[in-house]
């Protein structure tokens, strides 16, 4: 994939199955603590292995990764269940109206559909602690904004196509914002640093503004 990266790909599988395969391989390679690896990037159907090309030839590394995969147990650690409180009040959810309208639903009904769904963290990417979630009800799928916002508030919960994500920090962004969580998603001084990890099961619990203020970790 480059002179310093290899890519494992699981395609043609349903999303959750592909995610489980990627997570399993990620766990196996992490557990093997192989010297000369710089980064592992799990994604929906791929795992990118970034390595030091002075330490490995691609052929030798592929062989070593295969060994690690064979030696690993029966897949990733059990999934955590995490409830993410989310406020959808006016001002917290600038695109909720449009997402609901696109689905042909009232705002209340769209929020109900959203908060009764079970999501899975496919991987973290884009920014530290930013989860890509699978499990959005298909009718709520909405394309990204044609013009990204120059600033998306920290904790914003967004939709991009069939993906759901949460912004761990205020950044520019084009996802449709349908609510905001008071939880801190990423803190390098905390153990664990990231609130959510690949494989976690996520449910959203709707909270009001007062509760948002009470829980606010910012």
């Amino acid at each position: 994939m480059s002179d310093s990266a290899l890519r494992a790909r699981f395609h043609g599988l349903p999303p959750i199955e592909a995610q489980t395969k990627v997570a399993g391989l990620f766990e196996a390679i992490s557990a093997a603590k192989i010297a000369g690896l710089k980064n592992l990037h799990p994604a929906f159907t791929t795992l990118l292995v970034v390595y030091n090309p002075l330490a490995w030839t691609p052929v030798a590394l592929v062989q070593r990764l295969e060994e690690a995969r064979k030696r690993a147990g029966s897949g990733p650690a059990p999934r955590e269940r995490v409830t993410v409180p989310v406020c959808v009040a006016a001002g917290f959810a600038p695109d909720l109206g449009e997402v609901a309208a696109g689905a042909g639903l009232t705002v209340e009904r769209a929020v109900e559909r959203f908060s009764s769904s079970v999501f899975h963290v496919a991987f973290l990417g884009f920014a530290p602690g930013f989860p890509y979630l699978l499990g959005l009800p298909p009718e709520l799928a909405t394309p990204r904004l044609a013009r990204p916002r120059t600033h998306v508030r920290t904790g914003s919960v967004g939709i991009a196509g069939e993906q759901t994500g949460i912004y761990p920090a205020g950044t520019p962004g084009g996802w449709r914002i349908i609510g905001r969580t008071p939880l801190r998603l990423f803190d390098p001084k905390r153990v664990p640093m990231s609130l959510l990890l690949p494989g976690d099961e996520v449910r959203f619990e709707v909270i009001d503004e007062r509760r948002y203020e009470e829980l606010s970790q910012w």
């Binding site: 992490s30 990118l48 030839t57 991987f123 530290p128 950044t171």
Partner: protein
């Protein structure tokens, strides 16, 4: 014993950088690190430091720094016309600084980035194992941001050691030959591109856009045809990968790049040439030469051999 360096003027974008923050990519944390890692490594070795010590990275326009105590410095990378109390300072050589002196950088005549390596290295609290500043996520360095006027940087008081041996100029020239060519290998989606796009990438000149940054270097030229429009699944992206946006514009993912991306990658700049990306100037033209993977590795091994102390120093 610790002494301080006061930032009188920060320059255009001056950040604390070391060799980066690998190991947290699965949490979405960018590997980050010095844009011109080769300059940082050589500069640190010349300052008597370990090659990955934290130093200042300046971009296009350097800063002014007052030294409250004695220090030894090495400038590495592009020549920013630096003066110590009005006296020109040589690049790639140690310079001893006395308490009260001011180091003033100008702009880059050629190249784009200069490193100020200080004996003992900057004393910065590492975040996730690195002092590197990642501005987009506000992590590392000084509060995760570029330097501002009034910042105070701590460095160890200089050890009473003889200056390190001088660099062999011939080796330096071999390490950093002037060229407007970046060598590239194939990348994950190269085969999905039309042959014409791939041959255009390799045969035509590209102009570096002025809104390029440590995250990505945007190039202008003939529009390439991006395949897989909208249907590519987001995946991990390596440093140096050349993504093609839906508008047909190539972007080289650089040191601060996001860990994952959803645009197809047409090629990838080889590791041995990553430092060159750091030295590209806005509006400069650049060309891409294809090399096989084995050649990319050979070039890197050849480069690393030149960095061995017995080769690098006279």
């Amino acid at each position: 014993m610790v002494t301080t360096v006061e930032v009188l003027a920060p320059g255009m974008q001056t950040t604390v950088q070391d060799l980066g923050r690998p190991g947290y990519g699965h949490l979405g944390v960018s590997a980050c690190g010095a844009a011109d890692g080769l300059a940082l490594r050589v500069g640190n070795l010349l300052a008597g430091n370990c090659e990955g010590a934290a130093a200042l990275e300046m971009t296009l326009l350097g800063g002014r720094f007052r030294f409250h105590g004695a220090a030894r410095c090495v400038l590495a990378g592009a020549d920013f016309d630096c003066k110590l109390d009005g006296i020109p300072v040589k690049l790639w050589a140690p310079t001893d600084i006395r308490a009260g002196q001011t180091l003033a950088f100008g702009g880059a005549g050629t190249g784009a980035r200069c490193y100020l390596c200080l004996g003992g290295g900057l004393l910065i609290e590492p975040v996730l194992g690195s002092c590197s500043t990642h501005i987009p996520s506000g992590i590392g360095g000084i509060d995760g941001r570029p330097l501002v006027k009034g910042d105070l940087l701590s460095i160890p008081a200089p050890a009473d050691s003889p200056p390190p041996r001088p660099i062999r100029r011939a080796v330096l020239e071999k390490l950093r030959p002037a060229s407007d060519i970046l060598r590239v290998t194939a990348a994950a989606q190269t085969a999905s591109f039309a042959d014409e796009s791939v041959s255009n990438l390799h045969s035509l000149p590209w102009t570096v856009q002025s809104d390029s940054s440590r995250m990505g270097v945007r190039l202008a030229g003939v529009a390439l045809t991006a395949p897989l429009r909208g249907s590519m699944t987001t995946e991990g992206a390596p440093l140096g990968a050349i993504q093609v946006t839906p508008s047909g514009e190539p972007v080289i993912l650089f040191v601060d790049h996001q860990t994952t991306g959803g645009y197809p990658k047409i090629a990838c700049v080889i590791a041995a040439d990553h430092w060159r990306i750091a030295q590209l100037r806005p509006r400069q033209t650049v060309r891409f030469d294809h090399v096989p993977f084995a050649e990319a590795r050979r070039l890197l091994l050849e480069r690393e051999a030149l960095l061995r102390p017995e080769v690098l120093f006279g």
